[in-house]
Assembly symmetry: C2
Homo-oligomer: 733 residues x 2
């Protein structure tokens, strides 16, 4: 790679590289002296401050004591953050080492967890327990805890903010380890700071082609599958809990709604490890798309589902009995929040697309990148401010940005934005996984219940099976490209849990049930990431899933580009009576082995969406053709002229879009390119060429030229009808 590599092989003066761990150890050794020095300086400052025995002594002392405490608290915050940075640094260096040595059994997330565990052990058993600094006030308040308090301290007023509730058992514990508390974050940090970059990046880096190709299946797995999984796991766990109660292992209340909640949160899969390995080995792209799409969407579904379950509050004395009204209200809340968040995300994506389209911001990559970042972040805040779920909004914003805005960015901004979110994603994800490892030891309210844990493992296994196999069966009835048994097994196997399940579990650990669920979730995550993640590569070969599948190259794609099928025409019907004759093109390609093409219903929705997207949405939001002036009716003329950017007229090669290949395999489409319409019929199988246009714009798109080259057909007479031109059908059809 580098010239230095050649030098390395040279004998004699080859230098021995210092192991990175050695450097880090040096760093650790270097840490204490400055810490002491610094503390010395501060102590000197404080001592000089407090040595003054002035008349204002007492209040000065109070001020200083408060200041000192605030300073000490700040110092501890810094140390705790430093701990995490050290963890992440170690993780990065070890990841490099693993990549260097091609180690695949342990992925970076699993590694981060291990390091978190180690540091957790050190913190738990290594740092001294200090006596609690809390002061208990015995004043009682009438009705509730306010969010801010004003406390009178000898005439001075201090403002306090509500942090949270403390369970009675822990209140009077003298031994409170300050360090452990400092490394324990407010769970909302996950939802407000750490998860958004991860989820946004997932949406923004979606491989659109295969995602949309398998959209129906992905939606089915994500929505129906998660609901099924939640229900089944919930019921199984309820049985386990009942068992525990009988056996006497249950110390406190554990309701059915709690079980359902557990089912919801544990249904959020996060197969990071598996996908990373798929990526590296270039495993089957459809399988990748299915897994990735499912995991990304079921995170969204799990959040909203768990919120809806929590919001389930039936009327009547028993707050945990079934109440149809409350049930439907929960369903309504689910739908409302989900669609609201979806809309927020889509709207922000659309606004960003329009802004980047109509300004020349692409001349200034810094401004463009900053704007992109701000708009994406604003989605989250907007959704949260409106009472929806920020993380879900951010997901759909990412998908929208990838689909529309990305095309408007300058080349430099594209790489800048991708890199920016990639770095944020990387740091946030490894941070969460480190924290998971840490939390096993630093979390002070664990409830380990072997029966529950074993029951949970069985439940998620069965839940996953009930999720994957039946759904795949039904999907295969409609899919052109069946999901084979080995794919289904792989999907079954890839049910890893990760960041989302953890974050949902840690969000509220006030009650006994929630604490038990949190502990169990943690262990499930550990097991699935380490054991199942580690077994991915062997499993891939055992299931004979092909790897090393390259995306078809540019030239291949060009050749197969003009394979069209007719839209919405039942192959058994006659052609429409308006004497249009349609081009018929059909080619061979990778789908020739895929069998029967006449089943169109499963792709109908998609094709409808795709035409709409291509003919209207993309022209509105990006610079791609066809120009709206040609596709919109005449009365929209003014609007069309406003929304069409001049670049469209130059851009006669819209098929450079990545997902154009979708039309090759999915069904019949009517697509308008520039002033030409190419319509294709799927039922007949002859080859015919498209031609250049007469009248209107005579510019030939290069793809048309390529096709003519490929198929060797000359000009043919075309008829013009309004703004659409249709081609005469070949006699062979």
């Amino acid at each position: 790679m580098e010239p230095g590599d050649a030098a390395r092989l040279r004998p004699g003066r080859a230098a021995r590289a210092l192991p990175p761990r050695l450097l880090l150890l040096l760093l650790l050794l270097l840490m204490p002296p400055p810490l002491l020095l610094g503390r010395g300086l501060r102590a000197a400052a404080a001592a000089s401050s407090s040595s003054g025995a002035a008349a204002e002594d007492s209040s000065a002392m109070e001020e200083l004591a408060t200041e000192k405490e605030a300073e000490e608290s700040h110092r501890q915050d810094s140390v705790s953050l430093l701990t995490f940075i050290l963890l992440l640094t170690l993780t990065i260096l070890t990841i490099w080492l693993f990549k260097h040595r091609r180690v695949r059994f342990l992925h970076e997330t699993g590694l981060a967890m291990i390091y978190g565990l180690i540091v957790g052990v050190i913190l738990r058993y290594g740092t001294p327990a200090t006596s609690g600094r809390d002061k208990s006030l015995s004043c009682t308040q009438e009705d509730r805890a306010f969010s801010t308090l004003l406390v009178n301290v000898s005439g001075k007023f201090f403002e306090y903010t509500l942090k949270g509730e403390i369970s009675p058992g822990k209140v009077n514990s003298v031994e409170q380890n300050d360090m452990l508390r400092k490394v324990t974050f407010d769970p909302e940090v996950f939802f407000n700071i750490l998860l958004p970059p991860i989820i946004f990046h997932a949406g923004y880096s979606l491989k659109k082609r295969h995602f949309f190709r398998n959209l129906g299946s992905i939606l089915a797995y994500a929505f129906l599958g998660t609901a099924v999984s939640c229900f089944i796991i919930g019921n199984l766990m309820y049985g386990v809990v009942k068992l525990m109660k009988i056996v006497g292992q249950l110390s406190d209340k554990f309701y059915y709604t709690d079980c359902l909640f557990f089912g919801a949160i544990i249904s959020a899969t996060d197969p990071v490890t598996v996908l990373a390995i798929f990526n590296e080995l270039h495993a089957d792209v459809d399988l990748y798309a299915l897994l990735f799409g499912e995991s990304v969407l079921n995170d969204a579904v799990a959040i909203v589902l768990s919120s809806s379950i929590v919001a389930y509050q039936p009327a009547g004395l028993n707050t945990h009995a079934f109440d149809a009204a409350a049930f439907f209200k929960s369903v309504g809340i689910f739908l409302g929040i989900f669609s609201g968040s979806f809309t927020m995300g889509a709207v922000t994506g659309v606004v960003t697309a329009d802004v980047t389209k109509f300004t020349k911001l692409h001349c200034f990559p810094l401004l463009e990148t900053a704007l992109f970042f701000l708009m994406s972040w604003s989605t989250f805040l907007l959704a949260e401010a409106c009472g929806f779920t920020g993380v879900v909004a951010v997901l759909f914003c990412g998908i929208t940005q990838a689909h529309y805005t990305y095309n408007n960015l300058s080349v430099e901004s594209r790489s800048r934005t991708k890199q920016l979110f990639e770095v944020l994603h990387f740091l946030a994800e490894n941070f969460i996984f480190s924290y998971m490892g840490l939390a096993l030891f630093t979390f002070q309210k664990h409830v380990f219940s072997p029966v529950f844990i074993i029951g949970a493992f069985v439940a998620i296994f069965l839940g996953r099976a009930a999720h994957i196999y039946p759904l795949s069966f039904f999907l295969n009835l409609g899919r052109r490209h069946k999901i084979g048994w080995n794919f289904q097994h792989m999907m079954m196997f890839s049910g890893l849990r990760g960041a989302m399940a953890f974050a949902l579990a840690i969000r509220d650990t006030a009650s006994y049930a929630r604490q038990m669920m949190f502990t169990t979730t943690l262990l499930i995550v550990f097991f699935t990431v380490w054991i199942i993640g580690g077994g991915t590569t062997p499993m891939l070969s055992w299931l004979n899933i092909r790897v090393g599948v390259e995306e078809p190259s540019e030239e291949d794609r060009n050749e197969r580009r003009w394979q069209y099928f007719r839209v919405g025409v039942d192959p058994d019907q006659d052609p429409p009576p308006n004497n249009d004759s349609f081009q018929v093109l059909q080619g061979d390609g990778q789908d020739s082995a895929r069998g029967n093409r006449t089943k169109q219903e499963s792709a109908w929705l998609f094709r409808l969406w795709y035409s709409f997207d291509h003919n209207y949405l993309k022209p509105i939001l990006t610079h791609s053709g066809p120009p709206l002036t040609t596709t919109l009716p005449a009365w929209c003329g003014l609007l069309a002229r406003c929304l069409t950017s001049p670049q469209v007229y130059d851009n006669q090669e819209p098929l450079r879009e990545e997902d154009s290949d979708l039309i090759l395999t999915e069904g019949d489409l009517t697509l308008t390119y520039g002033d030409s319409t190419v319509t294709a019929n799927g039922s007949s199988g002859s080859h015919t060429a498209s031609t250049s246009l007469e009248g209107g714009r005579r510019t030939k798109s290069s793809s048309e030229e390529a096709l003519e080259r490929d198929l060797g057909v000359g000009d043919q007479k075309v008829s013009s009808r309004g703004t659409r031109l249709v081609f005469p059908q070949d006699d062979n059809a």
Copy 2:
């Protein structure tokens, strides 16, 4: 630029671009409905929750009320952050518009402030004042306010954290505007989150060449100048305050230490606007370096100086009298904190350099960038944890990273890190300036005192004059390239205040004096950024400062590359008696007009540093030559072999470093390249070529070849002495 531009000129179908503000207005209009919808959903959820009249009603109600309040609080946080994002978005779009139309009278920071002002007005007079949610507890505590409180609410315990002190006058005010409070950040946010990226970027993007060339002057301006400025302004303000007391305009205490504190914080200059204009117009690079270097370092000095002044606590009854012991303690604290922070920063930079040198992380730009980011962030935390100043540490870390680590990064990582910090810097800076504009209206404790304000303007003017002119005079005694009058006037003019002064002022606004200072600082910042910043371009032409100065191109630099001067040799002395004969090279170039070169004392320290840096530090920390195995004595052999990377032996072109040109103009240096030593003598003026080597390594560096080409000299016999080769002196010398 783009093909689309050509299309734009095409008549007929030219599209009318939607103005960006129109889009934003649309966004604003779209906001209310979702807000209402979302609130409706949440209300429905809450209503269904609270409709249950269960036995656990009261505690459930409490819980829900607390939850609702927490949720409402979260919602308001989101809305306040959204406000800032909107501000930043508007700023970005307007910046683009200004750049598009080449508007230079208003820089982005001034623009951000204006938008902040507008939104501040809207928030202050547009949002309804809501009654305070605070609950006043009348329980008294014995001695002090603890950082955490446990409050007993009907058997439940809630934890509260100390937020801050409230002045008695405001405690009972019924009208508290929640919105205003939500957009008022804890001042520590500036020091912990916003300032570090700005300062790091300043260090990382330092134009090293000119910075180091003017290092002495910059240090003088930054340290001595800031101290002088602080003292003068402090004293002048003390006079003003005394005047105010006599006139009866002073409502509360205002000590001498407060005046000195004001002097310290207001001495932190931030000529962002001026530098941006300099950059755009390519104004004189030395002036740029002086201004930039001074502003960056005096920020650091101002922070530590203000902390030292605050730490000044004399013994005895009068806490504000002069106490020599306390004074020297303050000085000691200043030196200790400054050097401690410097060391932290440098150490982290060095560790990062070593890690990137000895691992092959450059194969993985993502990992490398993430590591770089984490290590830089860790500087801050480390310094804070040790009790030093994080911002100062981060500055020196940035400089160190730019000087060493940058050379070890892969090409992609270099651009990634630069872009990452550029974006963070951009966002943070504009955020702070927006906040400044906002703070004029949202800050609820302003103290407007016309006498003080006018006095402050006069004081900073005089302080700047006392800072610039005398120092320049003394520096010119020693400088080769004098700082001309027009430069001095420009520097005098460029005393803009900005983010640092603001952050230091807002850090503690508890007392009357501090509030007055904060208000005054805000107004000073407004005035200097808008008026003085706006007047930069006219001032540049009025002072006849040349613009459009390009950095010498690569080829120019190559030609003049081999202009060396002898190190440490007094031109009046004889050459050293060891019969070494030295190469003498001297060329013409941009310095020929700069006059006398024999004054070497001012550059001695720099030259000493430069040799040390080039011969030892750079080889240890980067891949540049010369190899340590050649420069270190024999007993360090093992260490040298450990620390030398194999790339060094290939890297015979160390002069590709940016700052190598420094040696062309500064003085005499002995530099070792590979196994060759080129030593140059500044006093004589003849041209001689260097030659290739005999023995040892025979690889010719391309620069040597280039020189031979340029000067047309063939091989000459060289003598070898140990690991250094010296060249025979030309007879012309």
